[in-house]
Symmetry: C2
Subunit: 355 residues, 2 copies
């Protein structure tokens, strides 16, 4: 019943993150097909996995390059041999970050996000000629300029000596139940407006980048040239609850031990220091159990996950269960390594590479 109960790695101390390599490969192949069928380039966001091994599988499936969130992640992946990197973030570049970016740009094709004239000028001072994409706000209201203002910023960046390649957005508000298709339409409208704005300012547009795991399937290939989904190799409880995936597509779980049955609850040793404390407004708990879809993590402390159990027989203390983190990106960021089914491990090379 519990697939992990027959797991040969019973001696490994819990909690740890377990990757199902078959499911991982299937997920990577499925997204690659989706992008290829629609004529979109695929530039996966590596912040999800921070793993050169996963990135290698994505590259073998046809990814054109990687997206990263920080200069440190770009450094990790360049050192691992990935030479086409988009830092999809409005970096504030000072002298120190400028040195690091110049070192990267001397060895790889590097794109950087901008969302203000001030940020663009700071980048241009330290990394003359750097290739950039203008970030557009397609409705999440996190960062990025209004789509109609993209051309003004792009022209400013070009005058500062940057190489403007196009525009990008992150439709993060697709992380809401039933929102994906409507948000993909907003994304397309925003990007189309931004492209028009750049064109009006006399700039060529080579890259129109969007997409998230929930919205990738409905991303508008009429305007986008590439998508940057992150979560899809692993999946997580958020995607499960958004119905982006079914639970059989979840490739990463946290193996946890039942340490207590106090008060009739099942208490696992997978706390917030391994699962992460993410809980979106739509989430039904602090995580799910892969083999017990009705169970819910109802309380999460640093080293305790308290589970309201389902109708099946309550597990014994010492049992090992597979917990699905709400948000896999933050769970992976907490792990030193990912464990595979054969007991081998992949190091979390990018762990902590958050600057």
């Amino acid at each position: 019943m519990e697939r992990c109960m027959a797991d040969p790695r019973v001696g490994r101390a819990t909690p740890y993150l377990l990757v199902d390599l078959d499911v991982l490969r299937d997920n990577i192949a499925a997204m690659a097909r989706l992008a290829a069928d629609r004529g979109l380039a695929l530039r996966p966001h590596a912040k999800t996995h921070k793993s050169p091994q996963v990135a290698q599988l994505q590259a073998e499936a046809g990814a054109v390059g990687l997206t990263v969130a920080t200069v440190a992640e770009a450094e990790v992946f360049l050192d691992a041999g990935f030479e086409d990197l988009f830092v999809a973030y409005p970096l504030w570049v000072d002298a120190a970050k400028g040195r690091r970016l110049r070192a990267l740009a001397s060895r790889a094709q590097v794109l950087v996000g901008i969302d203000s004239p001030e940020g663009a000028r700071a980048l241009a001072v330290h990394v003359p000629g750097c290739s950039v994409l203008v970030e557009v706000d397609s409705g999440q209201h996190r960062s990025g300029v209004a789509p109609a203002d993209a051309g003004v910023l792009a022209e400013c960046a070009a005058r500062a000596g940057l190489d403007v390649q196009g525009v990008f957005t992150f439709p993060g508000h697709s992380y809401a139940p039933g929102a994906a298709a409507a948000v993909a339409a907003q994304e397309a409208t925003a990007l189309r407006t931004a492209v028009g704005s750049l064109t009006q300012h006399g700039l060529e547009v080579y890259v129109v980048s969007g997409g998230s795991t929930p919205s990738a399937a409905t991303a508008d290939a009429g305007v986008l040239t590439e998508i940057r989904p992150g979560v899809y190799p692993f999946g997580d409880a958020q995607q499960w609850e958004l119905a982006t995936i079914t639970p059989d597509r979840i490739a990463l779980t946290c193996v946890a031990t039942v340490v207590s049955l106090a008060g009739g609850n099942v208490v696992l040793d997978s706390g917030s220091k391994v699962l992460g404390a993410d809980r979106a407004g739509y989430a039904t708990g602090y995580g799910r159990l892969l083999d017990h879809p009705e169970a819910r993590v109802v309380m999460l402390a640093e080293h305790h996950a308290v589970v309201a159990w389902d109708a099946s027989p309550i597990p014994e203390r010492g049992s090992r269960l597979r917990v699905v983190p709400n948000h896999v990106c933050t769970a992976v960021n907490l792990a030193d390594e990912l464990v595979l089914g054969d007991g081998s491990t992949w190091p979390g090379l990018g762990r902590g590479a958050n600057t």
Copy 2:
């Protein structure tokens, strides 16, 4: 105005965790005085800081030993020279964990929590004679037996060959506005009942352990022998909002850079991968700004903290601000090092020591 704006470490890449050593020392001294004045032993929880340097300051101020949450944390602190360690957790001990515990017990005084006969017997099989405290549920409903059942479990543990030293509880429900005094009373009642239960079963009670940072000041010295607060050396936004501390007592902040002013918000580079995503029900946001008490982190992504700004002039892009994490324990768990005011660093030795 912004103390950190004059910071000489402007070249250090943000985000990073900055410790104010003077405030840290004051906090450590204040809790040591509080415990001493009330005749309580102080056994700080090291999961908060995971730092031998902080533990050393606590020991110098009179702490009798350390509390840890995992065997890995015990290993880290024993290697750093701390030889009186309480693993305040109902460990499930298998052969591998038993070997690690025996190795610890051969070099240090080690106490372990138990909350079930099954857990106690597993511990006794692998670590015969191990010293234990019986965990009691004082109202948080996370782990621990009902207070009146403590004697039955203690007797079972003693028969299995364990060395029962007493009882402990974690009054975690003290983390609610205005709850501290009432919860301290519940804690005292629960521990008094548990002590009576052990006595009825013919067992001596040497240790009666409770206390949390919010409830430490009102812990009942009539029944408790020691307290185990964790957060107090640093403080955090939770303690600020619970009014356990005033903001001038916060010793740890995350130095972050303003990367965007999109939509009139201040967007910082301190996301959930450095602050942690903790947000208790009573929290007013995802973190606070030390120098801007009215501002609130209203949206938190992995690398973006979106701040609804206060009435003061909006900071420029590139400015550095001090963010107070909601829950300092999870923020520290994400950091490779703590940075001091003179630019030196303390390694996060216990980072990731979560098994």
